[in-house]
């Protein structure tokens, strides 16, 4: 029965990983940028909400509603101010710029908050679970996170396929120059994509922070999980990110059952296995990335 529990936890964990990964996938799909500061953004969001909660009477929900739009704007500004100039400079520049950003954020957080771990207090919601059977119970937070992941992915899918802006974004991803000939301002399109990416990763960071403790230095590990979820699922596929997240989550929880020290390694090994035997990912994309 503990194995069933592990499987369910792993699948639900996939929802969190999908939330982390969809922004990364979007940025790469539209702009060919891998944001090395992706995970650090999530941590930054968590710390911001933490500060708001302890210094003002605003609760977690209110703080979330403030921080998410803030991050969207922040993403737009980072794109137009740093990433677009870097894109014009050369292929290496975006990697280096986001790496620099990652170092700045991690160390600024450490300077501001010290290296100690924190947690976001959501009261009794942390340990509240749904008891399905006598031995199988699922934390409400995990369910909510998974639900949010589905909502976000559906919203993204609809945005890309049904709206004018989404269409322009896909067109720009296909051929940026031809898109300008149709009137699309690439900087603006990229800005929106980054805004979406930052908002979703901020949400991921908050959901994570509600369930586990966090510290300034955990950003890179979140990036790696997001990245692994994208690659396992398949580059260029939004739903593949969910599948990839679930496979990764499953690998980690089952690995943890075998030996708690094996948790991370199990995930990495699955990633390497996919890389070795099915590098295009589990869900092959409609087009090449």
């Amino acid at each position: 029965m503990i194995w069933v529990n592990a499987i369910v936890q792993g699948l639900l964990l996939g929802g969190l990983y999908a939330l982390f990964a969809c922004g990364l996938s979007l940025m790469f799909g539209v702009m060919r940028i891998v944001n090395l500061a992706h995970g650090d953004m999530a941590v930054l969001a968590a710390f911001l909400v933490y500060s708001i909660i302890i210094t003002t009477p605003i609760g977690v929900l209110g703080a979330t509603l403030i921080v998410l739009p803030l991050f969207a704007v922040f993403g737009y500004l980072v794109q137009t101010g740093i990433l677009s100039p870097a894109l014009r400079t050369g292929p290496l520049s975006t990697l280096l710029a986001t790496f620099g950003l990652s170092i700045v954020i991690q160390n600024a957080l450490q300077q501001g908050y010290s290296a100690d771990t924190r947690a976001l207090d959501v009261g009794s919601l942390v340990s509240a679970s749904l008891h399905i059977t006598g031995q199988l119970s699922v934390a409400y937070l995990s369910l909510i996170t998974f639900g949010l992941a589905i909502v976000v992915l559906v919203a993204l899918q609809l945005f890309l396929s049904r709206t004018g802006t989404g269409r322009i974004m896909r067109a720009t991803a296909d051929d940026p120059e031809a898109a300008t000939l149709s009137g699309a301002n690439p900087r603006h399109v990229y800005g929106i994509a980054t805004a979406i990416a930052f908002a979703t990763v901020a949400l991921a960071g908050l959901m994570f922070a509600m369930q586990s403790s966090f510290s300034p230095s955990i950003g890179p590990t979140r990036l790696i999980f997001a990245f692994e979820a994208v690659v396992i699922g398949g580059l260029g596929s939004l739903w593949g990110t969910l599948v990839g997240g679930m496979v990764l989550g499953l690998a980690q929880t089952i690995g943890a059952q075998v030996d708690p020290a094996f948790t991370l390694l199990a995930g990495h090994l699955i990633f390497l296995a996919v890389l070795a035997f099915r590098p295009q990912g589990l869900i092959a994309a409609r087009r090449t990335a």
């Binding site: 020290a261 390694l265 990633f271």
Partner: protein, 341 residues
Amino acid sequence: MIAVTDVPSGFAVRRGGRTSAWAALGSTAVVAVLAYLPYAVTTSVTGTIVTFLELLAMASMWNLLAGYAGLVSVGQQAYVGLGAYAVLQLSDWGVPPYLGVFLAGLVCAVIALPTSLLAFRLRGDYFAVGTWVIAEVYHLVMTRDAALGGGSGRALTTLSDLDPVVRQAFTYWVALAVCVLSVLGCYLLLRGRLGLALTAVRDNEVAASGAGVSVGWAKRVVYLVAAAGCGAAGGVILVSQLNVAPDSIFSVQYTAYMIFIVVVGGIGTLEGPILGAVVFIVIQQLFAGAGVWYLILLGGLAVIVAIRLPHGIWGTFSRRFGLRLFNVGYTVRGPRSPDPG
């Protein structure tokens, strides 16, 4: 068929000129002076220089990967760590650590071969994060090796019967040897066929492949050499610190330093990493007391340089004045064109 020697009169195809001859002379002199230093200065000075030499060796390797082969790796710390642990393991088996440093380079090259088979399945930026994941895997694997200290690491004890001053001198010379070998190795590698192949690949991979350049082979050789260099540097770190812990030796901070040094100094040039390492050490010595602010400064500088100064300090300077100290290419000199160096 036109051979390279069939050049119209008045023109010459040269490897180097006066400037590079002077540069070669100058470099030899510098290395000789550095070698003499343990007799002349205190161990705190040689200690700082050892750090400089470690960083320069690693940065040259990262430059070789990213600047010449187009392989941007954010996971070179894997080989830094593996190199350090190799020296530790070898010393457990009776191999003197100073010899072990060089063997560690070889060990890392061997490990890099199967690793490259996996890593090369990813391209571009995804390759970068992939190398990071691989580094994490090696990190986690070494954490589980109880004999080598597990999660908390271990000390290197076989050098403890040496007089500390003597030990620091030997460490210094080994560090100097590793650094000189790394930089010289890059220079010789790039002057040969591999260098030509890499330039072709850097310009246009598909065209190069069509012209018969074995793109995969060229990149793999570079990857192995870079692993060896970083591994040897890792060995030097162990020998200089006398202990190793997985969390620090496999830290991505090493790659951060490599990237900073290469980007600020000038990517894709041999002189760049040298200049970058000097800048880095100077900043480190000046600001080390400021805590994390100095890291924030480094990160911010990296962002600015990435956007504004993509060729780094040396690169920008070299392009402006057409100056090259260590020439790995060919230059055509016409009857009226100036000496390119």
